[in-house]
């Protein structure tokens, strides 16, 4: 007699797999951390996404704040230049993806990362231009991101970011 495993994993049985959606849409925030990466975000934002929002921290503002878990009040901006409060954006997000260019200084990563940590939001960081930057320059950027990203990806092509966002249902 055919085993359960043999029958259940057959191609014929695959037509009985439940076809209902098995997940709800995710809230994904894509934050570019430096000026060279802004153009990437602008191009990506032209494509169709499942509600992903694109923000920039290249003109990141932060002011010290006492008596709160997060030591600073910080603002991002959307791609049209409107100011957005960091904690408001992170609140309710499922995933924050930070994008940086190799060799750039990305001090905002620490504050965004700390805020995500407090709010229990998963983080991923993508570094572009890893192939063309010097090891030293790349290391400098990675060192600023590493403590704050559960996953770090060094990619040579911008297309990989779009593929990654789609794969993560952004």
């Amino acid at each position: 007699m055919e085993s359960e495993s043999a029958r259940a994993s057959s191609a014929a049985e695959s037509r009985f797999r439940i076809d209902d959606p098995n997940s709800r849409p995710r809230v994904v925030k894509v934050v570019v951390l430096d000026r060279p990466s802004e153009a990437v975000a602008e191009r990506l934002a032209q494509e169709r996404w499942n509600g992903a929002s694109f923000l920039t921290a290249s003109a990141f503002c932060a002011e010290p704040r006492a008596n709160d878990q997060l030591a600073v009040r910080a603002w991002l901006s959307d791609l049209s230049g409107r100011t957005r409060h960091l904690l408001d954006e992170i609140d309710g997000a499922d995933l924050v993806i930070m994008i940086a260019s190799a060799g750039e200084s990305v001090p905002a990563a620490a504050i965004i990362g700390e805020a995500c940590s407090l709010e229990r939001v998963a983080t991923t960081a993508l570094v572009l231009g890893g192939a063309s930057a010097t090891d030293q320059a790349l290391s400098r950027t990675l060192a600023q991101l590493r403590p704050w990203a559960l996953m770090l990806v060094v990619a040579s092509s911008e297309a990989s970011i779009a593929d990654m966002l789609r794969a993560l249902r952004a």
Binding site: S3, V153, L168
Partner: protein
């Protein structure tokens, strides 16, 4: 998730398909040399990339890999007689040499030269490191022979096996670059398997089930680094190289032999999982080889006379719920190889990637798909040689390292991630 058309592009490898053309750019492991041990021995049926072939070793020891069927009436040459420098069809005596050239058609006058007009499709078949490798692409683009380290170490330093896996190559391969499953699925084996146990690094694995990942592109594919906490603020790194289209090497543990895999499509619903172990600086011990033959580490025990694992879908992988309950195995299936294969096969012959819900820790898989799709596109549109064909891309190693927190694994491990003859793997 992956769109249906992207998934089909990656999973279909038959003749004329884009991913089939990608696979046909490389030397691929086709058989174990031990499957053709003798000149004039029995031929062996081989199916690769959805092509039915026959391998044999002629009177002079030349290896042939030819179309399985006689050009006359379509009889399988597996029934053929391997004699006097060729394989003779038992039906009407047509005879073929190791290149597939017909050299005799007994019914036709010899002087007619009829046999010179008959030639079966054939591919080169070359022995290296106990493996018979074939190249199934255009002869003009045949690359140099493969230079994977495990195939170049002295005899006695390596052990290679293969097993039938009853699912598409991609979902099997994706399991190999998914480092985050080790702390769950294989946790029982880290302390018990003779080819894994005893390494200091195992304790970091077991203590920290939530590694942090870094994925870096390499000339041939990717390095997937998994970082766990070690002592004094340092990190324990396990770095897995993936080289296109389907090679990975598992990071070492202590002085154990290092293991790795290839996944080679048989057709779109089955593949060969090739598993190798080697040590660059010493012969494998008798105990290690015996453990591998007994199905320990990444190897399996077989249904006698086949390469099908003894634990397979027809016997529910011999699942032992009591062992699962007691924590001796996490899934109830014994052995690292079948723990992986049972779950990958349970997805069905070709998993529906449109329904998956990937998370950040799956970025190694996401990047591998991206690189495969990019390579296929470049190959189809611009005839660009894919990564991994160049033998310099094959001279990679896995590594296990303890590093200070500010050192990127790729810089710190630059030497450790390259083949260094006579030097052992960097291991913890």
């Amino acid at each position: 998730m992956l769109r249906k058309e992207q998934s089909e592009l990656l999973t279909q490898t038959g003749p004329g398909t884009p991913a089939g053309r990608l696979f046909r750019s490389y030397w691929l492991p086709a058989l174990l040399a031990a499957e053709l041990p003798d000149n004039e021995g029995p031929p062996v049926r081989v199916k690769l990339l959805s092509e039915r072939l026959l391998a044999f070793r002629d009177t002079q020891g030349c290896y042939g890999l030819i179309d399985e069927y006689c050009a006359h009436r379509g009889v399988s040459l597996w029934f053929g007689r391997n004699e006097e420098s060729g394989l003779r069809c038992p039906y009407h005596g047509w005879k073929y040499d190791y290149t597939g050239q017909c050299i005799e058609v007994p019914s036709e006058p010899e002087e007619s030269g009829f046999c010179t007009k008959i030639k079966l499709k054939s591919y080169p078949l070359v022995e290296r490191g106990g493996v018979l490798w074939t190249y199934m692409g255009p002869p003009a683009k045949q690359p140099p022979l493969p230079e994977w380290e495990f195939a170049l170490v002295p005899p006695g330093h390596s052990f290679t096996s293969k097993r039938l896996q009853e699912c598409n190559w991609l979902q099997a391969m994706e399991g190999g670059i998914d480092s985050s499953h080790v702390s769950f699925l294989h946790r029982g084996e880290l302390n018990s398997d003779p080819l894994f146990k005893g390494a200091q690094g195992n304790q970091y694995n077991l203590r920290d089930a939530r590694p942090v990942f870094e994925v870096v592109e390499s000339p041939g594919g990717l390095y997937v680094g998994a970082r766990r906490n070690a002592e004094d603020g340092h990190y324990y790194w396990r770095i897995t190289p993936w080289v296109m289209p389907s090679f990975t090497m598992i990071p070492p543990r202590g002085d154990h032999p290092v293991h790795g895999h290839f996944w080679i499509p048989i057709d779109d619903e089955t593949c060969w999982t090739w598993s190798f172990d080697y040590h660059p600086t010493r012969p494998l011990t008798r105990e290690e080889v015996q453990a591998m033959r007994d199905g320990k580490g990444i190897h399996v025990r077989y249904v006698p006379g086949t390469f099908r694992p003894l634990a397979n879908k027809d016997n529910d992988y011999l699942i032992d719920r009591a062992a699962q309950k007691a924590g001796r195995t996490f899934s109830g299936v014994a052995g690292i190889a079948m723990q992986d294969a049972s779950l990958q096969e349970s997805m069905g012959p070709i998993v529906d990637r449109a329904k998956e819900n990937l998370v950040s820790t799956d970025n190694g898989i996401i990047m591998a798909r991206h690189r495969l799709l990019r390579a296929i596109r470049n190959l189809m549109e611009k005839d660009v040689e894919p990564p991994g064909v160049d033998v310099s891309h094959q001279r990679v190693r896995s590594a296990a390292l303890i590093l200070p927190p500010d050192r990127p694994f790729k810089d710190a491990g630059r030497e450790a991630l390259s083949v260094r003859p006579g030097v052992a793997h960097a291991s913890v």
